[in-house]
Amino acid sequence: MSDKPKSESSTRRTFLRNGARVAAMTGLGALGGVLVNRSQAESWVWQIDPQKCLRCGNCATKCVLEQSAVKCVHAFAMCGYCNLCTGYFEPEPNALSTAAENQLCPTGAIKRTFVEDPYYEYKIDEKLCIGCAKCVEGCNRFGNGSLFLQIRHDRCVHCNECAIARTCPGDAFRRVPAKQPYLLKTTHAH
């Protein structure tokens, strides 16, 4: 088309177009300037503040992943290694044994091993844990609160807006720097 003489309306259009482009670039530049000033190079990921979690059970069902990215984790150093673990056993266990009907965990994800009299160690099998927080509730209400929920970053796909955060009754989710992506428990606020 360049060989044809340009009509009046087409030059006017080009002029308008150039004007709009310059305006848009200026706008984008200004926007970028403001944001880059405030922004940080580091990326952010979602995490649960265990002190705010109310153990409602949403974490098991509301994640966008088939298998929730939230799992129970254990702060072993806080654990009392109790024989009657209120995170492990049903409130009315028939016996303090590893029989499934005595366990609180719906998937049998907690492994109980004897350490020395009278202490037992409890480990979470993350492949089985669904993040339902039943054990967390038991441990926090009656025990040391050493079991708590965390988003596991090897599973989480880092949604722009975490689907569980939206429904969390404890307002426990927040963005944390990806360099320190966990909010681990060290003390239990009863």
């Binding site: 990326s43 409602c56 984790v73 150093a77 009299d117 796909v157 807006e161 009754p169 239990h188 009863h190």
Partner: protein
């Protein structure tokens, strides 16, 4: 002090657990606890109070076995440098797309670029980091000083737009995984009637306004939440969205890029940007002979015909007058939209979790509803009771912001409708068949429908060029 002896008491209490046969299993903890002993609880509670952060059952030190206490594992988040890789891939993808559209004029190149983008941004990155959602992060970053937008997100927001300002929607052509997926699925495109195309074409702008006003109030990121393609990348998602995703996929088989054309909010921005673009996608870089062979080659309804000859001056004046009236209508539509927006602000604001909770809390004071114990509803109410003042204050603040953004959103919808109506009565003078700047995704499908192009690339001898019907008509 809660000590070993208390722990023993617990273990003894376990006997009584067994006898207290309580029906409701979810209430067991609290209930059987009270059965065990009211007094014990009160005592224990009092004992705990001063020792706030002290463990109930002191962690043992394993004198016998020297057992090593394990540490909590912390699998790391994605490494920091990988986000720069994302930006680099985006930049490289845009360059390759531009090269394929303008230099190589190669559909095949764009096809493979699309496959790559689908694999990288789609199935590997699982659809998150994505330009489509980025406008929400940007606006939240503007309105909320506490929210920092990562640099990579700014890059994803800005780069495709800058490219569009100069050379059209190269991002859509082969870099966007959403577009690539729909494009690959297209097997039998049907033509969407013009009126429907125009009507549905305003949806992306409305969705954009909706997403931005929700993000600006910190209510959420609806563009991400209701994305009908991402569940496919993740192979999971809420049931409703999965059905929506399958519907979109099935639709993509027959309707060219349904999400891109009728919903994508970032596409709306790209469309605006491309309208001002310096260079444009052309069916042939040579002269258009108006043979009409490319007329139906675009499956996305982006091809425009040359404007029909000269218009009678009389008709032109009446058209000008109509355009004038429609322009006058625009402010009225904006005002109407803003008015409707302000009326809807209160009900819509309940989608914000804070406002919803405050509302429920107030209702609860009036007429208590019964939620099951340990349900999210009951637990959030407890939290509300705990700090009702702060909650109500922030809910009131939010409601003001919501009102404002609903008014702006309503006005925006009015503006979009008005501009759309007015633009429908605009006449564009076109001498050739050419893709519409805003609507063309730059997929390069139409190129090879043009005999000029086939001659240019040596697929057809120049002698076979068909005679243009227009030129033929001019001769007679």
């Amino acid at each position: 002090m809660p000590t070993q002896s208390e722990k023993k008491k617990w273990e003894k209490g376990d006997k009584e657990y067994g006898t207290s046969n309580v029906g409701a299993p979810f209430h067991l903890f609290t209930f059987s606890l009270f059965r065990v002993s009211h007094a014990l609880i009160v005592l224990l509670f009092l004992a705990w109070l001063p020792a706030f952060a002290e463990p109930r059952f002191p962690p043992p030190d394993f004198t016998e076995t020297n057992h090593q206490i394990p540490t909590t594992t912390t699998p790391s988040a994605r490494a920091e440098w990988l986000q720069y890789l994302d930006v680099a891939v985006l930049g490289a993808g845009l360059v390759v797309a531009l090269w394929c559209i303008y230099k190589q004029r190669s559909r095949r190149g764009l096809f493979w670029l699309g496959i790559f983008s689908l694999a990288y941004f789609g199935f590997w990155r699982k659809g998150c980091v994505c330009a489509i959602g980025a406008p929400q992060n940007v606006i939240l970053g503007l309105f909320d000083a506490n929210y920092t937008v990562p640099l990579s997100v700014i890059a994803f927001f800005a780069l495709p737009l800058i490219v569009a300002l100069f050379a059209g929607r190269a991002f859509c052509a082969g870099v966007c995984p959403h577009g690539a997926l729909q494009d690959l699925l297209l097997i039998k495109p049907v033509k969407v009637p013009a009126w429907l195309e125009h009507a549905l074409g305003v949806l992306p702008f409305i969705f954009l306004g909706f997403g931005l006003s929700f993000a600006a109030t910190g209510t959420g990121f609806p563009i991400c939440r209701y994305d009908p393609i991402v569940p496919i990348f993740r192979l999971s998602g809420p049931g409703l969205l999965i059905s929506l995703a399958i519907l979109t996929l099935v639709l993509s088989l027959f309707v060219g890029r349904p999400y891109c054309r009728f919903l994508c909010p970032y596409g709306a921005l790209l469309k605006l940007a491309s309208l001002a673009s310096k260079w444009r996608v052309r069916v042939t870089p040579d002269v258009c002979t108006q043979c009409q062979l490319c007329e139906n080659s675009c499956p996305f309804g982006a091809m425009r015909e040359p404007s029909a000859g000269n218009v009678e001056p009389k008709q032109l004046t009446s058209e000008r007058r109509r355009f004038g009236w429609l322009l006058v209508l625009v402010p009225l539509l904006i005002a109407g939209g803003a008015w409707i927006g302000s009326a809807l602000a209160v009900p819509v604001s309940k989608m914000n979790p804070t406002i919803e909770l405050a509302e429920r809390y107030i209702n609860q004071q009036k007429s208590p509803a019964n939620y099951g114990p340990m349900t999210p509803e009951a637990l959030s109410l407890q939290r509300a009771e705990h700090d009702s003042e702060a909650l109500l204050k922030s809910a009131t603040d939010l409601r003001h912001r919501f009102w404002l953004s609903c008014v702006i959103f309503g006005g925006w919808v009015g503006l979009v409708l008005g501009v759309k109506l007015a633009s429908l009565s605009l006449r564009t003078k076109r001498t050739d068949f050419e893709p519409d700047r805003g609507a063309c995704f730059g997929c390069a499908r139409c190129f090879r429908s043009c005999p000029q192009e086939l001659v240019r690339i040596g697929r057809m001898p120049a002698g076979d060029l068909p005679q243009s019907p227009v030129a033929a008509a001019a001769k007679t």
